[in-house]
């Protein structure tokens, strides 16, 4: 092996180049990551299912392709951790729920299919809050995932398994989904990069729905360029998803390579600062704004008054849609069935199966949503929440008429302790305060690491928000910040993760 360095600490771009160049085989790269998982996942618990056989088979296929002289794609042979919310034909998909224990989907999600077509090696399925409802992975029915920066802390959620797998060097790439911040908040608290593409930019076909009008799959990585390469692999129109946008995907890879923000106008959202934000987070955020100015951007303060109502409106819309989306889990056609003793009728079996299959947060949201949609309450709850949504979109429209992107802290605090907010849903919901407006408006957002908070030494993320179908701007700004900070620190922040 002539690859210079630790395979598991390499970037996806470097691994792909090494495989293509024959410096290392895809099988060696895959085996190194499987070994790493075997070594550290006991402590991290990023994975719910490791598909050793499937991963090695794919790696062998890539090596065979190369041996035949076939052209390899930009991510061929690179391992990836897939959030367990995407269907994978022949590989279990649980969504972190007992309800889907033992379910093996008969079909691939479009994202899964595109990853396979790009010759990406899927290592396995990552842990998540049950049905993507949560901000810590504590709602997973299969145990919490630990933050590699501090194993007593949460890795964010719902996509904590994906973010932790990156920070634990178990995979260089991961896929998450972001309904209210489930890609960006985990990225922020693990010092990794996470992108919520424009709604409709990445197909939702095969993404088990939490809230259909908000859910969006997207890339997670340790560098902005890696995220861009993954973004390019999974994005683009899909006729199987009616809400998929039939337009060319913005050139995110070129934008990530550009890493230049001279002349850009960047808005700082007035509403996302002050009370409720950890001092260390605010400090790193304000330094980031200064950095953006130094890098040649013009900074403008932007007022988005409706954002104050985004969180309550979100907690009406998302549960409403989830109450309908999760109705299909009735134990009749797939998933876990409880109480089928030949005496209980269909309603009893459904009821017992749900009682046993759904966790408390999922039940809470189903009940909230059922109530919000019920006759006599619809207008006051779901109806007004949709109106707030329109107001949020208008705030964004007004802001983007003046600036190219908006910035804010990704989440108000660094990673909190496991158990700290588990019994306080409101405190938990606040973790998504800054990320929710983008889901409500359907535009694009990224979290990029901007250092460790001076007060607790944990990673802080900068959120960048771009208008719909201007995802490339995220990469342009994100890579500029990343390059400047790496220059300043002498090495990427992720190298600071303690040894496991």
């Amino acid at each position: 092996m002539s690859f210079d360095g630790d395979l598991t600490r390499s970037t996806a771009a470097a691994l792909a180049a090494a495989i293509k160049g024959g410096d290392v085989t895809a099988t060696e790269v895959t085996q190194a990551h499987l070994d790493r998982i075997a070594k550290v996942d006991e402590k991290v618990h990023a994975f719910l299912h490791v598909d050793t056989e499937g991963a090695l088979a794919k790696a062998a296929e890539v090596d065979a392709k190369r041996a035949r002289g076939e052209k390899l794609g930009p991510l061929a042979g690179v391992p990836l951790a897939l959030k367990d919310v995407f269907t994978t034909k022949g590989v279990p998909t649980t969504c972190g729920s007992k309800m889907l224990q033992g379910w093996v989907p008969p079909y691939d999600a479009t994202v899964t299919r595109r990853l396979r077509e790009a010759d990406v090696v899927i290592l396995g399925k990552t842990n998540m809050d049950e049905f993507a409802m949560g901000s810590s992975t504590e709602n997973s029915a299969y145990g919490v995932t630990h933050n590699p920066w501090d194993l007593t802390r949460i890795p964010g959620g719902s996509g904590g398994g994906s973010s932790a797998s990156l920070a634990a060097f178990e995979a260089p790439l991961a896929i998450g989904t972001d309904t209210g911040g489930s890609i960006r908040q985990p990225a922020s608290v693990t010092g990794t990069v996470g992108v919520k593409p424009t709604y409709g930019g990445v197909s939702r076909y095969g993404l088990v729905a939490f809230s259909s009008s908000l859910d969006q799959g997207g890339p997670c990585a340790r560098t902005v360029l890696d995220a861009a390469l993954l973004h390019a692999a999974i994005a683009g129109h899909d006729p199987m998803d009616s809400t998929s946008i039939d337009l060319p995907v913005p050139d995110v890879v070129a934008a990530a390579r550009l890493a230049d923000i001279k002349g850009m106008r960047i808005g700082v959202v007035k509403q996302f600062d002050g009370d409720g934000y950890q001092d260390g987070v605010r400090q790193r955020f304000h330094e980031s704004v200064d950095l953006l100015r130094e890098l040649g951007a013009t900074i403008v303060e932007v007022d988005c008054p409706s954002f104050d109502y985004a969180l309550p409106a979100y907690y009406l819309i998302a549960p409403s849609e989830c109450s309908s989306n999760l109705a299909r889990f009735d134990a009749m056609r797939y998933g876990r069935r409880v109480g089928d003793d030949g005496v209980n009728g269909v309603e009893e079996v459904t009821s017992l199966s749900r009682e046993a299959g759904f966790g408390p947060e999922v039940k809470r949201r189903i009940m909230l949503g059922t109530y919000a949609l019920s006759s006599g309450y619809y207008d006051a709850y779901y109806g007004s929440a949709q109106q707030v949504r329109t107001l949020i979109m208008r705030d964004f429209d007004r802001a983007f008429a003046d600036v190219d992107v908006l910035v804010s802290p990704t989440t108000p605090t660094t990673a909190f302790k496991i158990g700290e907010r588990a019994d306080d849903p409101m405190a938990m919901y606040l973790a998504d305060l800054c990320t929710i407006p983008s889901n409500m408006a359907g535009n694009a957002g990224m979290s990029v690491p901007v250092g460790l908070a001076p007060d607790d030494g944990l990673p802080v993320g900068l959120q960048i928000i771009a208008p719909a179908m201007a995802d490339d701007r995220l990469y342009r700004v994100g890579s500029a910040v990343e390059a400047a900070l790496n220059g300043k620190w002498g090495r990427p922040l992720i190298e600071e993760v303690p040894a496991l």
């Binding site: 995407f86 269907t87 998909t93 969504c95 889907l100 379910w103 989907p105 008969p106 079909y107 999600a109 939702r204 076909y205 095969g206 993404l207 088990v208 729905a209 809230s211 259909s212 009008s213 006729p239 199987m240 998803d241 009616s242 809400t243 409403s320 849609e321 109450s323 309908s324 109705a327 299909r328 889990f329 009735d330 009749m332 056609r333 797939y334 269909v346 309603e347 459904t350 059922t370 949609l373 019920s374 006759s375 619809y378 779901y382």
Partner: protein, 501 residues
């Protein structure tokens, strides 16, 4: 519990006191090649659960994509019903639980239907009625449950249930009328004529075969009564899944009598869904729900709004066929039929059968005579629709050819029909197999005539004397000898010739 008719007021008595108001909801399965939201085939009769995919099985993660052909059909139906076509409308989720509904919500339309505010003119009881259409909206069908064990065939009390999802996701159009008032005693007839006219329209549009016996078209009949002269509507009942024209008429008739009995007793009608029973024409209550059904409708977030371009709508308007009422007027003129004849033909569902028979060479009067006479009698006896009889327009045309050629007389033709209906083959095959052809050999007839003259000499003498009255007796005897297979006109000719010579 089914309400028996024993203690109900007569239909006439009910109508003497009350004024019926109806609302008809008709579901039509569209005859598209693929389902509403996925690419699965819609063909009827395949093995259970062989025409399914992640989307129509409602598997986690699967998403719907609208079938453009179904939208096109919906718009054409809307246009034919003189509706406005929405410039922008959405699908909505109707949330409720049932094991044959894969997602436990039905993708339907709620307050934004594709077509609304239309009307359909129909003929019943000798006059034209304008039935106003509230809306026509798109939705998907559910799977089909078969409840095994238990007495009722319904889910409660069943030992187990089988579900076939082949039907799940087949596109449906639901057409809802505004309240139909002012029909009085003609209410059941109007209801039937409306459904019949709608069926003709759907068939003419080519969007569905609209075969009620296959469930391709199903009617829910809402009925309420109010005392004659009162403005305010009474409480309605909704009789679900009434699946033939005859049943529509019977269900409405029964509900009018049942409501009248309730009101006469000073009780209040319960707003409920009811099941219709084909065997005795009664209805019984559906499962009593403890709470009012709340479907928690909200716009379907997995689908984008439907915004049919006006140019497309205009283009579709150009594809509308000759509407059944226009066609009927044309046919009435061509056939020289009276209004009453035409209405009977329409009510019997015989228009197309006659048209097809005529197109195969039969004169219109002959085609009408057979379909509306002997065949209608058989249909009535079998309590079946005319179109469901085991005889085709081609076979009727063949029968007509045989009668006009003199091979069959009417009596023989009737026997041939019995044979065809019994599955003995085409009319020609039945004639051959049963030996039913008219005896046209004069020699054989003359032998029979001589035999008759010998048997009834007095009658023969009278005829010879110029009194033709008793000829009938002699002809009758000849027909008897020939077992009805003689042409009576020819027998008379030969007989008179014989007795005058």
């Amino acid at each position: 519990m089914s309400t028996s008719t024993v203690n109900l007021p007569s239909y006439e008595d009910a109508l003497a006191t009350y004024d019926p108001v109806m609302g008809l909801e008709v579901h039509v399965e569209l005859g598209t090649v693929t389902k509403m939201f996925c690419g699965c085939p819609t063909a009827f009769g395949a093995d259970p659960n062989t025409q399914t995919c992640p989307t129509c099985l409602g598997l986690p993660g699967a998403l719907p994509v609208v079938n453009t052909k179904a939208i096109e059909s919906a718009i054409r139906i809307g246009l034919a019903l003189n509706c406005e076509i929405a410039e922008w409308c959405r699908f909505a989720r109707k949330n409720y639980f049932y094991p044959d509904m894969p997602k436990n919500f039905q993708t339907s339309q709620y307050d934004e239907p594709i077509a609304f505010n239309g009307y359909l003119d129909i003929e019943a009881a000798g006059k034209t009625w304008r039935i106003e259409i509230e809306r026509a909206h798109m939705e998907e069908d559910t799977g089909k449950s078969t409840h095994v064990g238990g007495a009722t065939g319904r889910i409660h009390g069943a030992e187990y249930s089988l579900v076939d999802y082949n039907r799940a996701g087949i596109p449906l159009i639901e057409i809802v009328t505004k309240p139909i008032t002012g029909t009085g005693e003609h209410a059941p007839e109007v209801a039937r004529a409306y459904v019949a006219e709608l069926r003709e329209l759907i068939k003419a549009l080519g969007v569905s075969e609209a075969r009620m016996e296959l469930g391709q078209m199903r009617c829910d009949a809402n009925v309420s009564l109010r005392p004659i002269g009162r403005e305010k509507f009474g409480t309605r009942s909704e009789t679900k899944n009434v699946n033939s024209l005859r049943s529509v008429e019977r269900a409405v008739t029964f509900e009018i009598r049942r409501h009248a009995a309730v009101l006469n007793a000073g009780d209040t009608v319960i707003q409920e869904t009811r099941h219709f029973h084909e065997n005795d024409g009664t209805t019984s209550p559906g499962r009593v729900k403890e709470e009012a059904e709340d479907y928690r409708y909200f716009p379907e977030p997995d689908l984008v709004p439907v915004a049919p371009a006006r140019t497309w709508v205009d283009e579709l308007r150009g594809t509308l066929p000759e509407l059944p009422s226009v066609r009927r007027n044309r046919l009435q003129a061509e056939w020289g039929a009276t209004d009453h004849d035409m209405q009977s033909i329409q009510n019997a569902g015989a228009v197309d059968l006659i048209v097809q028979t005529v197109s195969l060479g039969a004169p219109a009067d002959q085609a009408r005579k057979w379909w509306m006479g002997e065949l209608a009698r058989h249909a009535n006896e079998q309590e079946a629709e005319l179109g469901d009889l085991a005889i085709t327009p081609a076979q009727v045309a063949e029968l007509v050819t045989l009668t006009t050629a003199g091979t069959l007389n009417d009596k023989l033709a009737r026997q041939v029909i019995v044979g065809v209906l019994a599955g003995e083959g085409s009319p020609k095959q039945v004639v051959a197999a049963r030996g039913l052809a008219v005896v046209s050999d004069d020699g054989a007839l003359l032998a029979a005539i001589d035999e008759a003259i010998a048997k009834f000499p007095d009658a023969a003498d009278k005829v010879r004397g110029g009194n033709q009255g008793p000829a009938g007796q002699l002809i009758g005897a000849v027909m008897k000898t020939t077992r009805g297979q003689a042409d009576a006109a020819r027998v008379r000719e030969l007989l008179l010739e014989r007795l005058s010579g």
